[in-house]
Symmetry: C2
């Protein structure tokens, strides 16, 4: 048996991987996490079940890779740092508004968030791993601002990141109000400046 | 047929109502919103199905009344106003920490939040009605502070309330970090003062 892959075999693998990710994201948005199966993903992707099992041990593992490949927020992802903290935060949050207003992204992410809220184990292994990558990127950007003297020394950066990200997530998840550029711009200004009268 | 109830009949009605609420809250925490039925509630409460249908048109209606009776946050509920905004917010949020760390309260509320995240109609009719009562109470307290000159005039009070409440809700729903008195105290200070160095 040949163990070294030819360039053609590599291209075929990459095509299959992408087809499996697309199928997994589409299906979880359509049927929800509980009803998602490896069989269903294989059938939608036009590959054999064994192809999936060769690469991933579970549907959760497929989805985790599919989400990180898709959202581009793999570990190590960083916010821009132009030296203007407010502008950098608004830039990234406006892009996130666009992403969360796109049904193709929204449906699978919602299915996952709902499953995670219901299932502590899934949440710990998986939802938080995705979510934490995002929170950590914000914490890192805030840390650089703190080192540069723009953020007060006493500030808990994790809670500061939650003040920016949680109102966004909560509006989205509970559909309490629309996600707009105005909303994220105002949010950033209020988090930086506080609501108290100076 | 007598249409005027005797005091004994009123007491019996009140006992049945309370038993139905308790049964509904217990059951939704155990089986989730989707599998909750009027039949199941009736059986757990020890009343006939017709007793429930006489008072409520649907399981959603029973639950809405059960939650508002339980959480005590019926419309018109107000935050304390001692003149010290930070102290008043911390006081109420610490009580909410206790509530959300209590499994008896936590399980039914989570079942409902998850069902609402999944189902836009349920969310609009119901989850937001519960949640909005809470948000509105905060907005009102912030408005009084703004009128008293403690909060800057330009501040969007709805977004300010979300900055306080969403990090709390999100930690709870996604179990990303524990709900503690320290957390809510720090959150209130950061929302009021902002994170920027003065």
């Amino acid at each position: 048996m040949a163990t070294t892959k030819t360039p053609d075999a590599n291209r075929r693998s990459e095509r299959s991987r992408r087809a499996i990710f697309d199928a997994a994201l589409e299906l979880v948005g359509e049927v929800g996490y509980d009803k998602l199966t490896i069989e269903g993903i294989a059938s939608r992707a036009g590959v054999g079940k064994q192809t999936i099992y060769r690469w991933w041990p579970s549907k959760a593992a497929v989805l985790l890779d599919a989400f990180t490949a898709d959202a581009g927020d793999e570990p190590g992802w960083e916010l821009p740092d132009t030296g203007d903290l407010a502008a950098d935060l608004k830039f990234v949050l406006r892009a996130t508004v666009d992403e969360f207003n796109d049904p193709k992204f929204e449906a699978p992410y919602r299915a996952l968030a709902v499953a995670g809220a219901n299932d502590p184990e899934l949440s710990e292994q998986f939802v938080n791993r995705l979510q934490d990558t995002g929170v950590q990127a914000y914490v890192e950007r805030l840390r650089r601002a703190q080192e540069a003297g723009a953020i007060a020394e006493h500030v808990d950066l994790r809670i500061a990141a939650e003040m920016i990200l949680s109102p966004f997530s909560q509006r989205w998840l509970m559909r309490t109000a629309p996600l707009t550029y105005d909303f994220v711009d105002t949010l950033v200004d209020l988090v930086l400046g506080g609501i108290s009268r100076r």
